[in-house]
């Protein structure tokens, strides 16, 4: 067993265990922190697969931005932690379903001959980042632009959703005031109409 294998098993078991912990834990803050742990470990895994650019992005963007955002929201909302799972039935069901899923997909992996698509692994001299950049800005330039646009939309959408349009304060609107007439405010009723 070489060192890489040891590292792999170590990292993988940390990820699996913490993800199990993540789904059963009650405290949202803990969950978020567990997620950070998972992402860090995943970045290690990715590094082992020579995807250093993505590993760095994962840590920087995901852990640095998205998960911090999660934490912000958690703090902001001030959620009371309640007991999560109430019925054992649900637990049973979910475990059952994911087990079947696992078995099915495992059968795919097991029976499928992945060796045929494997090629000799060559390591680019200019590094992984260069390769990604090259194909991103040549073949996928349009998709790249779209992604940028999606991010823009996401920003605007997030703002739009939470932009509070409700008027809470008592303000005067002179324009409306001027347009009001006597008849619209006051109605004089005669005796018989009452």
């Amino acid at each position: 067993m070489d060192i890489l294998s040891i590292l792999f098993y170590l990292v993988a078991s940390v990820i699996i265990l913490s993800s199990i912990a993540l789904i059963v834990v009650n405290n949202t803050v803990h969950a978020a922190l567990l997620l950070v742990l998972i992402f860090f470990n995943s970045a290690i895994l990715w590094l082992m697969l020579q995807a250093e650019f993505l590993a760095i992005v994962l840590v920087l963007v995901y852990v640095g931005a998205v998960l911090v955002l999660f934490l912000f929201v958690i703090m902001l909302l001030d959620i009371q932690v309640k007991k999560n799972i109430s019925k054992k039935m649900y637990l049973l069901f979910s475990v059952f379903i994911s087990l079947i899923m696992f078995i099915e997909l495992y059968m795919v992996i097991f029976y499928h001959d992945f060796a045929s698509i494997q090629k000799e692994i060559t390591i680019s001299e200019l590094g992984n980042t260069y390769d990604i950049g090259l194909s991103l800005f040549t073949n996928y330039i349009f998709s790249f632009e779209v992604t940028a646009f999606i991010l823009l939309v996401a920003i605007i959408a997030a703002i739009a959703i939470n932009l509070n349009v409700k008027q809470r304060s008592l303000k005067q609107n002179p324009g409306k005031q001027v347009l009001e007439s006597k008849e619209s405010r006051l109605k004089i009723l005669k005796d018989e109409e009452l």
Binding site: I97, I100, M107
Partner: protein, 635 residues
């Protein structure tokens, strides 16, 4: 001549339309006189035609003056075929119609709907003439339905009377049962000859290969078609069991009972069979059927008349019975003999009805004979006329009924078959019954004491009423002497059955000595003892006779049968409507399907609970299942 024939129906149609649609400017009396005049003119035309037909031997007038429908090979025209047979019928119809027209001017003078009445009878005469002079089956059917329609309208003339409007519906419906079969018969004849035209049919009759035709229900093609035609005639001519409408039809005004329900319309069936005699001649089963129906009608309907108390109904039952005689004669192919009886019967039965009308008028619309009696002195002219009518109907020697009825009996006896022998005996008993009920009526109404209050207020009617009676009385007395004409009369070109007739005197002497005379004498004494002297016999109170009497008084439950079947039809109808149409088709399928879909969607609705994890579960679960299926198929 052709023009005259065209004019006869047109005159009547004009009369009907003018009187019916005219405004109030045309007064009652002038309307009556106008239409009577038009009928009279038509009558004169028809006499000219009759005269001409008899002058030229073997002349047949045939023409189509209007093409009603012509689609490729199918041609239906309106025209005429006048031979001796139809010329005589034409004359009879117009004569009775004229008499009734005149009579009605006085009889209906107090009615509000006087003009409507005249319009109807003119329309009736028109339809009847269309029927009589028709040269094809469709025209016959048109006239046939037309007279049925007018009969319907006239029975319901007093439309506020519940019994009248019931009776007219009944009459029309029963006639329609006959019509249904009649039109089927016509369709069968058409399918055979590819024509409705009498002439074509009669010419081709020998060319048809009857052996190779389809047979239905074990009857040959021709048998069945003639049977259907005859069922039509049964309804129109009130034969058992389709006779039930005729007694009820007496709800109509009396003149139309005379015209329609005694003299003309009800004899249309007889006329039709006579007209189509070349066809009926070839049938076997149907002829026997006709014979049985006719003779049983003659006997059993006569029996009912003995126990009736309504003067018009007595005469109505006697009409049915006499029609039975005619039909029975048709059954042994003695068409002209039957027609002879039709001829004489038209006069004396119309006479009896009109006399009854006169009596009813004098007694202020009382029709119950138990409230009459001793009217002889007060209504002398009516009495004499009624007497002549009665003598005729019972076949008193030398009156017209004597000739015609005796001829039927003679012919029946001559026909060598078992059925006709049985029929002969039935008709003979029928003759006895006829004597009894006719004389009963005469004795109860005109003899004895008046039972309806004061006799003094009763007066004889005006001359307008009496003249028609006298005219008809003359015809009733003397029309029988035309026997020779009828015996020799060909229908179309077919001289039919050989009728044993050796001349007037031998016939009379033979007739007087025949069993019919015994029936006459027996009947006379029976009626005299029972109804004139009103003697009581212990025998009449015995259990059997009372049972017999009550059995006859039920009228053999035919009315109940029809009421039952019409109620049953209504019940089935409403059952079908509610259970099948609304219940099954509408409820189960049309409205039920959307309801089922709605229910299904309610069930499906609960699947979308709104909870995120339910959706996710469904989603994943489906993926798992689909994935599993794919895997199973791959591995």
């Amino acid at each position: 001549m052709e023009l005259l024939l065209l004019f006869i129906p047109l005159l009547l149609l004009t009369s009907s339309l003018i009187v019916g649609l005219s405004s109030n400017n045309l007064g009652k009396i002038s309307a009556g006189i106008l239409s009577s005049t038009l009928v009279f003119v038509a009558l004169i035309f028809s006499s000219i035609i009759l005269f001409n037909i008899y002058k030229h031997e073997d002349q047949i007038l045939y023409e189509n003056f209007y093409n009603w429908i012509s689609i490729s090979s199918l041609e239906i025209g309106i025209g005429y075929l006048i031979d001796k047979f139809s010329a005589v019928m034409l004359f009879v119809v117009l004569l009775i119609s004229f008499v009734v027209h005149v009579y009605s001017i006085s009889y209906m003078s107090e009615e509000k709907d006087f003009k409507r009445f005249f319009s109807y009878i003119a329309l009736f005469t028109f339809s009847m003439i269309l029927l009589v002079m028709s040269n094809n089956l469709i025209q016959l059917f048109i006239g046939w339905e037309g007279v049925g329609l007018v009969s319907y309208l006239l029975i319901g003339f007093f439309y506020k009377k519940e019994s009248a409007i019931k009776a007219n519906l009944k009459a029309f419906l029963i006639n329609r049962i006959g019509d249904m079969f009649f039109i089927l018969g016509i369709a069968m004849i058409y399918a055979l000859f590819d024509s409705f035209d009498y002439r074509t049919i009669f010419i081709n009759i020998n060319k048809v290969d009857f052996e190779n035709l389809d047979s239905y229900f074990g009857l040959s093609y021709l048998d069945l078609s003639c049977l259907f035609l005859f069922i039509g005639a049964m309804a129109k001519s009130a034969q058992i069991p389709l006779h039930v409408w005729l007694p009820d039809s007496m709800e109509g005004p009396t003149p139309i009972s005379a015209l329609i329900h005694a003299a003309t319309m009800v004899t249309a069936g007889i006329f039709m069979v006579g007209r189509l005699s070349p066809l009926f001649e070839l049938t076997d089963f149907t002829n026997s059927f006709i014979l049985i129906i006719g003779s049983s009608t003659a006997l059993f309907m006569g029996l009912i008349a003995i126990y009736e108390n309504d003067i018009k109904r007595v005469i109505a039952y006697s009409t049915i019975s006499q029609l039975g005689y005619m039909v029975a004669a048709l059954g042994i192919s003695a068409y002209t003999v039957s027609f002879f009886h039709l001829f004489t019967h038209a006069f004396f039965k119309a006479l009896l009805f009109l006399c009854a009308g006169s009596i009813i008028m004098s007694l202020h619309h009382n029709q119950d004979i138990t409230k009459m009696g001793g009217l002889r002195s007060k209504l002398p002219v009516t009495y004499i006329c009624f007497l002549i009518g009665t003598l005729s109907i019972i076949g008193f020697p030398l009156t017209s009924g004597f000739f015609s009825k005796d001829l039927i009996l003679e012919v029946m006896l001559d026909n060598n078959s078992t059925i006709s022998f049985v029929s002969y005996n039935m008709l003979l008993i029928g003759a006895l019954v006829t004597v009894i009920y006719s004389l009963r009526l005469l004795f109860i109404v005109f003899h004895g004491d008046f039972r309806g209050g004061k006799l003094s207020s009763i007066k004889e009617q005006s001359m307008i009423i009496l003249l028609p009676l006298i005219l008809l009385a003359i015809f009733s007395l003397f029309s029988g002497y035309l026997i020779k004409t009828f015996v020799d009369m060909p229908i179309y070109f077919y001289g039919l059955k050989d009728i044993h007739y050796e001349g007037m005197l031998p016939f009379i002497s033979h007739g007087i000595l025949s069993p019919a005379s015994i029936a006459l004498i027996t009947g006379f004494f029976a009626a005299k003892i029972l109804y004139k002297d009103e003697r009581k016999f212990k025998m009449l109170n015995s259990a059997i006779t009372i049972k017999l009497k009550s059995f006859i008084q039920t009228k053999y439950k035919f009315d109940e049968l029809f009421i039952y079947s019409s109620n049953k039809t209504k019940k089935i109808s409403s059952l079908l409507a509610s259970k099948f149409d609304i219940g099954l088709i509408d409820g189960f399928i049309v409205n039920g399907l959307p309801k089922k879909i709605n229910k299904l969607s309610q069930i499906l609705k609960s699947l979308s609970s709104g909870y995120l994890y339910h959706y996710a579960f469904l989603f994943v679960f489906s993926i798992v299942v689909i994935f599993g299926i794919i895997l199973a198929r791959i591995l």
